[in-house]
């Protein structure tokens, strides 16, 4: 029982990492109907920015986070102009290839600038965690879970209760209609990229103390996050969160009770099962090919 509880906690912790990155996938998908394969690299950039600011330049942690998020907002806008905007009228395939290209460029750019050695980033909280009986609660995992809840709540209120949020939602639902209603859709999409970029960076900052900071850190998480968003129902915010958490838990329990070397396989077996039997995911609506 102790072991199951420990596994549950760790599984939820790992799952919330997937969920945070999946959230970025979903937002951009909703706004543009394309998958951004550089989403994981946003996390990597955020983490490297923190290493530069807080480890190399020794700035205070909170200031490092603020600067990183500000820089990543600007980066998101640039990404929109360079990677998405020029190809926006050419269907989804060129854009997807373009994001893959951007991902390769970003990873190798950082590799050239910072070298192949993994870096460490201390956690925001100074204590490593605490034990309740035989169960250890890692403070960083608790922080990630907490931040995920806060971000989802904020996002809910932003989308449902503010005019800007409603405009963004309208854009994602039907661009033509939104445009006819006078919503500047190009601006809305740019804002979505900016927000997703900062959200990705936040995920990177949060996981860095656990997984360390390396060039490939983003892409390994992004693959699982992508699977999580499909399981949850692609394009659905709640689905991304639930899918991420479920994937983390399934993976951890599968590793513990069935086989550790096949840990990664469990995530993708679940993905294949969903694609076969419930392609719309947990929360997705059953829709035919969009016209």
């Amino acid at each position: 029982m102790d072991i199951a509880l420990q596994l549950l906690f760790t599984g939820l912790g790992v799952g919330s990492i997937y969920a945070l990155v999946a959230l970025g996938f979903v937002l951009i998908y909703r706004a543009t109907n394309v998958v951004n394969f550089a989403q994981g690299d946003f996390a990597m950039l955020g983490a490297f920015s923190m290493v530069v600011l807080c480890v190399d330049l020794e700035l205070p942690y909170w200031l490092g986070i603020l600067i990183t998020l500000a820089v990543m907002l600007v980066f998101g806008a640039l990404f929109n102009f360079a990677v998405y905007y020029p190809l926006r009228n050419r269907g989804f395939q060129p854009v997807i290839i373009s994001t893959i290209g951007a991902s390769i460029l970003l990873e190798n750019g950082v590799l050239a600038a910072y070298g192949p050695r993994p870096q460490t980033l201390p956690g925001f909280l100074s204590f490593p965690g605490f034990s309740v009986g035989p169960i250890f609660f890692d403070s960083q995992y608790l922080l990630i879970l907490g931040v995920t809840v806060v971000m989802v709540t904020l996002q809910y209120f932003f989308v449902e209760r503010t005019l800007l949020g409603k405009k963004m939602q309208a854009t994602s639902q039907d661009k033509e209609m939104a445009s006819l209603l006078g919503i500047p859709i190009a601006l809305m999409i740019m804002l979505t990229f900016m927000y997703s970029s900062a959200l990705g960076a936040l995920a990177g900052i949060l996981v860095a103390p656990i997984l360390f900071v390396s060039v490939g850190m983003g892409s390994s998480i992004a693959l699982k996050a992508f699977a999580a968003s499909i399981i949850g129902g692609f394009g659905d915010v709640t689905g991304a969160i639930v899918g991420g958490l479920a994937l983390g838990v399934v993976e951890t329990f599968g590793a513990a009770y069935i086989s550790v070397p096949y840990k990664d396989a469990f995530a993708f077996i679940v993905l294949v099962l969903f694609l076969l039997f419930r392609p719309q995911g947990l929360f997705g609506e059953k829709v035919a090919e969009k016209a």
Binding site: L7, V14, G115, R117, T120, L211, F212, V260
Partner: protein
């Protein structure tokens, strides 16, 4: 790159001035393929620095057959295609009688057929046991192979620490799996059946299931063969968080620089086997001091084996009294009790020079030499 250019210019200058006297001996070229760029560029720096240090010493002591040696270094880009290209470039130079090869086993496998075709001695630093057991007579290993690391882990854990309940945690890649198999075999020889053998795939983000398995197994000692530094660090930290504090004897990767930096205090108190340890012998101590004085950084095994390789090649060519490949080969194989910085070299007929490992301990971040275990007969 710049260093290489400067040293070449200096060498050229020295040669041209000495040739004015008409008695200059032409330098003897030694080829070297190193990872100067790519994902292991750091390794290439150590490799070339160690080799250059040895070349300077050889030349100061009169050179080889009365000629100074000159290292001709080609970049292998840390890739297999890169190493094939680099080696073929060097192999085309008829004046090169012997080569310093790569450190990575996979790269050595990539050029092994070319080496066999060329038929000239190549020194290597890869630890895959098969390299010297596949019928290629031109490969000479300057590090102990992985069969020995497992024997030393088993020997130290059972005989010195007196532990009988073993847990083995290993990566499922080639290195981890072969290490695990050798270790299980060696423990069997000591009548020990491991209570847990647990594999995992590289780049795991979480090791909780592995740590819990170790904890539940009731083992009192744990051996590890882990490849990726961040895996080692995540595992070590979760191990401590979940309260597992049993004795730990790791493979050489447990004391590699990157892993130590990432894991920090989580690795304190662990043991590891290592081929180079600065305090293991007078030769190693002297080398470490010289290396630090020259390059302002502590050496690791990448620089140590190339340093030994250049020295042993010089010795062998001098003993062979000529550049005929077969003669040089025989001279290397007859090297006995050579006090290198990696250990004492006694070449066997397979081309393996070292049969020993050092046991070291991570004492609050400082790597302390504990014991030298030698299996050469």
């Amino acid at each position: 790159m710049l260093n290489r250019m400067i040293s070449r210019i200096l060498l050229a200058a020295v040669l041209s001035t000495s040739s004015c006297f008409g008695r200059a001996a032409e330098p003897l070229k030694i080829g070297m393929v190193a990872s100067l760029t790519g994902s292991a560029a750091e390794v290439g720096r150590y490799e070339t620095q160690g080799a250059k240090l040895a070349a300077e010493e050889v030349n100061k002591a009169g050179g080889v057959l009365g000629r100074p040696i000159e290292l001709v270094i080609e970049d292998n880009q840390t890739t297999n295609p890169g190493v094939v290209l680099a080696f073929s470039k060097l192999a085309g130079d008829k004046d090169i009688p012997a080569f310093i090869g790569p450190t990575f086993s996979t790269q050595i496998h990539a050029i092994a057929p070319d080496i066999q075709r060329l038929g000239k001695p190549v020194t290597i630093g890869g630890t895959d046991p098969r390299l010297t057991h596949m019928g290629n007579p031109w490969l000479f290993r300057f590090r102990p192979n992985d069969v020995h690391s497992a024997r030393v882990i088993a020997d130290y854990g059972v005989k010195t620490l007196g532990k009988k309940k073993w847990a083995i945690v290993h990566s499922t890649d080639a290195f981890g799996t072969s290490g695990m198999k050798n270790l299980v075999e060696d423990l069997k020889g000591m009548d020990v059946e491991p209570t847990l053998v647990q594999g995992y795939t590289n780049n795991s983000q979480d090791f909780t299931p592995v740590v819990l398995a170790v904890k539940q197994s009731g083992a009192d000692v744990m051996a590890t063969y882990m490849t990726v530094p961040s895996d080692l660090a995540i595992f070590a930290r979760q191990l401590r968080q979940l309260g597992v504090n049993i004795a730990w004897v790791g493979s050489p990767s447990t004391v590699a620089t990157d892993g130590l930096k990432l894991a920090g205090p989580a690795l304190f108190g662990s043991y590891a086997v290592a081929d180079f340890a600065a305090d293991s012998s007078p030769a190693a101590k002297e080398f470490a001091a010289k290396y630090e004085a020259n390059y302002k950084s502590a050496p690791d095994y990448h620089g140590a084996w190339t340093y030994d390789a250049v020295h042993v090649l010089a010795l062998a060519i001098n003993n062979a009294k000529g550049l005929e490949p077969q003669k040089i080969r025989e001279a290397i194989l007859s090297v006995k009790d050579y006090p290198g910085v990696e250990g004492t070299y006694n070449f066997d007929q397979n081309g393996d020079g070292l049969h020993s490992y050092n046991v070291v301990k991570n004492d609050n971040g400082k790597i302390v030499f504990i014991k030298h275990i030698d299996f050469s007969e």
